[in-house]
Symmetry: C2
């Protein structure tokens, strides 16, 4: 792969110029990773028109040099990262007005900027790096697709082992074990394993509930590969499906298919959401689809753009988004089918190729 | 168990009075859980002298009522939680000066307080709830112990399956699967599985490195039970240990034992750190113990107090802390042995009862 990092830094420098600031302090770790490749859990990055200055702590001494090379000037700080920044600031000239990431800086650290960073004037900034991250390049799409393939292989293995009598926690264990064996380096979020009436809770985690014949079973999980995330949901039935389960499943399946086929870069977030919502409403289940259609994903499992009723922003060219319509009925259960879709210039490209037919397992 | 929540709210109200504020807005989710029992991922809590007002979104409509009961006045908000807070504020009288959690509020949301929360005057606060959380009651200690037992049973199972030829990711999969089967509801942090020279990286995650005979293998992981975390590290050798591996292991083992036996509530954080550090220094490995001795744990895997060289604060009565000395040599590997210790009035009580002898596995 070509090294995309210099081009990313160049694009950010243009944004810095447009924002009328001399430099930007980056505190979001995914933003640091995007710009430098550094994957550690402790970092501050100062981007000037001339250099990238990366500050981390002694634990990452070896790793930071491996990952970053000579792309950035690295400082290993024994005290706090902020002390490192003030030491750095003392040696830099020509910098007066510095931006910080308002959405990624705690109030406590903001007070620190005002109290200790007195050499510079501070300006809050929003989304300078995130706006660049929304449009994925070919390498990023390939990594998300790879993370999707890990998730799909793990799901294939897991489905073979699901049977009545296991708890949701047991199923989560099988799924996570399979994800690791297939190469997932982290879990982008805690797996949702929701059975029976618990499938009606869109944000259930796994519990000690025992899975029974006749249950709906909803699995929502992801894999991570070289920092990039996938996010997929499938809903199945334990044993033969009832007519009602099948009827609702087919509505969600159709809503997923319509939206995955029709979603495009340049569409408003609310119009993308409407692609699935309109159909579910027409079938009389509008009130039972209580969340938004989807979200961007990449280095984070939730990032720009948002596909939701209230969002007038346009979906960015090359974004990768989830399409995840659902129908939830308290006490009965729920169905959600979620795929990851790349908004390519030629149209939507589904990255999670796993059957959307209703599976009757065990 | 007795319901401890009313007493916690009472203690917080005393702290609110002392801070000369009329109410406190809580944005830290573990703090919300501590005070109300609510475990969802979206919440704002307003604590006044009269009531607890909990705001969450529609996804948690059922769950919040189950978990909170009539302890708090619950509002389900269709828009944003902040809109919910302003709607609530409009109906409250006698509140003028309101605190917010400076360490748990993003600058972006702080700007929101100033722009939209104009009915109230705002005062940053630090650690009002965290200070209460540092001292664990008997129920909390029992839950951490239970989380420790889950971790130990999972480790026992995992050790039986470790053999040369597995990757670190395979071992992480076995370990996480076992944690789920033993009832861990989440993973408090991403497991560290570091073998061979990678054991020298105190914050390595699991990689695709193949484990070989003669390797040191370091496992650092935790379990979670009813919200409470455990955190344990053991280091073993794949096959027979070399003299050098054994020598360094015994130093770390002794440092762990000395500190676990001697740590007390009321000690300065730096003096606790010194219990292990002094011995490691005497043995000539001071430079190779590059991190601090430990940290508190409870609803979060890192919380107050800190056991570190620079910390002059006293360890709180009833705190639960990790004791995790280590020796790391780049290129060679590392050894860390970590336990969870309750600082009871009668002295330290180790909650993670698993052998500290050097295990030669496979």
């Amino acid at each position: 792969m070509a090294d995309r990092r210099p081009a990313r830094a160049g694009a950010l420098r243009d944004a810095i110029t447009t924002a009328h600031i001399d430099a930007l302090v980056i505190t979001s770790l995914p933003n640091v990773r995007y710009l430098t490749g550094f994957s550690g859990s402790s970092a501050l990055l100062l981007v000037t028109q001339r250099d990238l200055h990366l500050i981390t702590d002694f634990r990452y001494d070896t790793q930071v040099r491996d990952e970053v090379g000579d792309l950035a000037k690295v400082r290993i700080e024994a005290q706090s990262l902020w002390t490192g920044l003030w030491n750095l600031a003392a040696g830099l000239t020509g910098i007066e007005v510095v931006g910080f990431e308002s959405a990624h800086l705690l109030h406590r650290d903001f007070q620190r900027l005002l109290a200790e960073g007195t050499r510079w004037q501070w300006r809050p900034q929003i989304n300078l790096v995130e706006a660049l991250r929304e449009s994925k390049d070919a390498d990023e799409v390939a990594l998300i697709r790879h993370a999707g393939e890990i998730a799909i292989r793990a799901l294939t293995k897991t489905i073979k082992e699901i049977r009545p009598g296991l708890t949701e926690l047991n199923v989560a264990g099988i799924l996570e074990h399979s994800l690791r064996d297939e190469g997932s380096e982290e879990f982008p979020f805690s797996a949702i394993v929701a059975s029976g009436p618990r499938a009606a809770l869109p944000h259930a985690r796994a519990s000690s509930r025992v899975i029974e014949r006749g249950d709906l079973l909803l699995l929502d999980f992801g894999a991570q590969y070289k920092g990039y995330c996938s996010d997929i949901t499938r809903t199945m039935v334990i044993g033969p499906a009832s007519g009602e389960q099948r009827e609702i499943y087919e509505i969600v399946k159709h809503a997923n298919a319509v939206a995955s086929k029709s979603v495009r870069a340049g569409m408003k977030g609310q119009d993308a959401d409407g692609l699935a919502r309109r159909y579910i409403e027409e079938r009389g289940y509008g009130d039972a689809f209580g969340h938004s259609l989807g979200h961007g994903l990449g280095l984070e499992v939730h990032e720009a753009p948002r596909l939701a009723k209230t969002v007038e922003t346009l979906l960015g060219k090359g974004a990768v988004v989830t399409i995840e319509p659902g129908i939830y009925r308290p006490g009965w259960g729920g169905v959600r089918i979620e795929d990851d879709v790349h908004l390519a210039a030629s149209g939507p490209e589904i990255l999670t190729d796993f059957t959307r037919e209703l599976l009757e397992v065990a």
